[in-house]
Point group: C2
Chain length 420, copies 2
């Protein structure tokens, strides 16, 4: 039986979950994988966390050098988070030729070039399934399951906190603050939830997933980011009325024009497979030129789902010699990023004139080739209309709306992207 | 650049799709995978198929020996189907130390022991993603994405033909024969659709998926099989009334009592992620002890989706030296298979007495610990009830129904398993 020693850096939620899974499944992995996986070393400054997991003091390292120089350790699991200490430790591990398994989306999104280079130079493995969407095996799928395909598009619900909040607002009519408070109570939202709510977390994940899918480094800071602040109770009501739900989507597209990457709330038709993804679940819907539409769905966070991704990566690395530089992201080629997106749109318009206004709007739209997919007139005076367009170049749509405003035909008082 | 030669045996739907994908993506795989994949040999008796694909006569082999002895061929793709010639050819390839990539579910389900043994002995790879669920990367996910988990259960819609027929019956109220005729017209149903309709196709796939998930060989002939013949328009109406849809499910469970494997139509609650899987799409919903619920969804058949699985396996095999005996199925251990299943049930009962009957039924159920989850009285005379139970040992439920019949309280006139 192959014996593989694991070290865990950081014993927070994910590190603790990874430790527990390894401990409880040792015999299972011996039997089913032919691997004896043991935790040989941990690095964690918080004595309380070590005690809570019942970890033998003998395997507690006092510094990173002790971990990377331990000859019994072949795989180092990084669960510290952030880009300070975590980056130093991951580089130290790779320099020592150890395989690194990480859940650190921020670190990989920002420093993948440096990390992949270090891994290649020192013949070390680098595995990152746990960095995106918790237990959903999307990284492995992009690398090893759908690699025959040119991926044309991906749309993901990749953040559980915001999906929980939007689900509560949609299903129970909760206000944003109320839903956020509930998410906090259930431990779905961090003490400082800004990274989730404002879309930063989704941006890092999209940076990684788009880079893997499109085989070119898509920098996080080039991704359009809109958080939940645009989503009012009112917007949720409009969506319902038209047969949509609002989801925070991470969207990546690859067309002849270039690559589009954006994170924003969007109207999703009720019949779309992503519309049914509720609570803190995550899902990603993608289109490959050969495979067609594929969706993966599962728990996007938490000790055990993310721990499952960690340990699956550990087993993969232990069973595959070729786990070096497996990401297949070209760093030489700079991607051509498009910012004049092509998207369907939900619009709420206030007409000046109830009788004539609508035909003037549709005439303006027709002139610019903007098709209306759904339309609903609301309110007692007949002046307010809700509509969803087909896909349109954003600059063209915005031009039309500006024209409507200037010529006094209609004011746009709500505007959100939609999935067509 | 690594040069890898591929041979394709059989140029039917899947073989032709695989050929086209390889041809059209050659430059793409050079760039993104560092692989130069070329088709060096094909074996196909039908001249018409060779001509239709525009294949150079120089690479057409006249017999299998020519293919397996070709030093330029490293990977042999089997798209012949069945267990006659296909088995001989696959064994010949493995004996020659060539990696085999196959879409042949029947062959692997029936002969995996022999094939895996041959692969191990001759250091050959054996890849089978395309054998189950077309483009849905479930095999890779079980082997490399969720292997940290003890899989407790899986439920899949693994046959597109039957799902298309059931969707037509549900959505459009079509009769079975009508829906089948449409499926035939669209090429979703084979000339002889018995293997699909009677559940044989699903049984082979479940045999493979359950073997991979539970790490023990689950023989196809030990799987309970019920086809679509039990599903009337009437049954679909009952499902709708109670908030369910009927799907042909492949179910595998692993409990302390043993392994349950069964293919049958089932009531699926409308809110369940599987309920929304329409048309010829496939999906599999599984539960791992760490990861929780995971679902994969995509096109379950067709030249390009299945070709995508084939080519992804080719790339995987070309990039991984360790593709030998990767299935992790124990053949030494015989699985303990349970046949007294535990399942929720839909029942339609005809009460003798409208006034007293229902309380007598629920009293009988309560005595045996059978809980009723949903109940609806239908019909003018109040004698007919539709109900769905919670999960119950089938022998216990059948005993209760027999008792109701014997004592003249109620007759069961429809009975189908349900997902709770």
């Amino acid at each position: 039986m192959k014996k593989v020693g694991v070290a865990i850096l950081g014993l927070g939620v994910v590190g603790g979950g990874t430790y527990r899974i390894l401990l409880e499944h040792r015999e299972f992995y011996q039997r089913t994988q032919g691997l004896d996986l043991t935790v040989e070393s941990v690095l964690e400054p918080d004595e309380g966390k070590i005690a809570a997991l019942g970890i033998d003091r003998a395997i507690v390292a006092s510094n990173i050098a002790e971990v990377v120089c331990n000859p019994d350790v072949q795989i180092i699991v990084e669960c510290i988070g952030g880009e300070g200490v975590a980056r130093d430790y991951v580089l130290a591990a790779l320099y020592a030729g150890k395989t690194v398994v990480t859940s650190n989306k921020l670190l990989y999104a920002k420093h993948s070039d440096e990390l992949e280079r270090a891994a290649r130079q020192h013949h070390a493995g680098l595995q990152l399934e746990a960095s995106c969407m918790g237990g959903v095996p999307i990284v492995r799928t992009l690398l090893n399951g759908l690699q025959a395909n040119v991926v044309g598009s991906m749309m993901g619900i990749v953040n559980g906190t915001t999906n929980y909040i939007l689900s509560k607002m949609t299903e129970e009519g909760a206000a944003y603050e109320e839903a956020l408070a509930q998410a906090r109570q259930l431990g779905y939202a961090e003490a400082d939830p800004e990274s989730d709510l404002e879309g930063f977390d989704s941006v890092y994940k999209l940076s990684i997933l788009a880079s893997l899918a499109f085989h070119t480094k898509v920098p996080a800071d080039r991704i359009l980011r809109e958080g939940l602040s645009k989503v009012s109770k009112d917007a949720i009501g409009c969506a319902k009325q038209l047969g949509y739900v609002i989801k925070l989507l991470a969207v990546g597209k690859q067309t002849k024009q270039g690559i589009e990457v954006r994170v924003h709330p969007a109207f999703v038709p009720k019949e779309h497979p992503l519309a049914g993804v509720g609570g803190c679940y995550n899902a990603i819907f993608l289109h490959g030129d050969s495979v067609g539409d594929v969706m993966l769905y599962g728990e996007g966070a938490g000790a055990l789902p993310t721990g499952s991704a960690m340990v699956s990566d550990i087993i993969y690395a232990a069973n595959h010699y070729e786990n070096i530089s497996s990401s297949r992201i070209s760093v030489e080629e700079k991607p051509k990023l498009v910012t004049d997106f092509c998207s369907a749109y939900f619009l709420r318009l206030e007409l000046r004139d109830a009788a004539e206004g609508l035909s003037k709007v549709t005439a303006q739209f027709a002139k610019r080739g903007i098709s209306v997919k759904k339309l609903s007139r609301v309110g007692a005076d007949g002046k307010r209309i809700l509509l969803v367009t087909e896909e349109v170049q954003e600059s063209v749509l915005f031009g039309a709306l500006e024209k409507l405003r200037e010529s006094g035909i209609a004011e746009t008082d709500m505007r959100l992207r939609a999935v067509s």
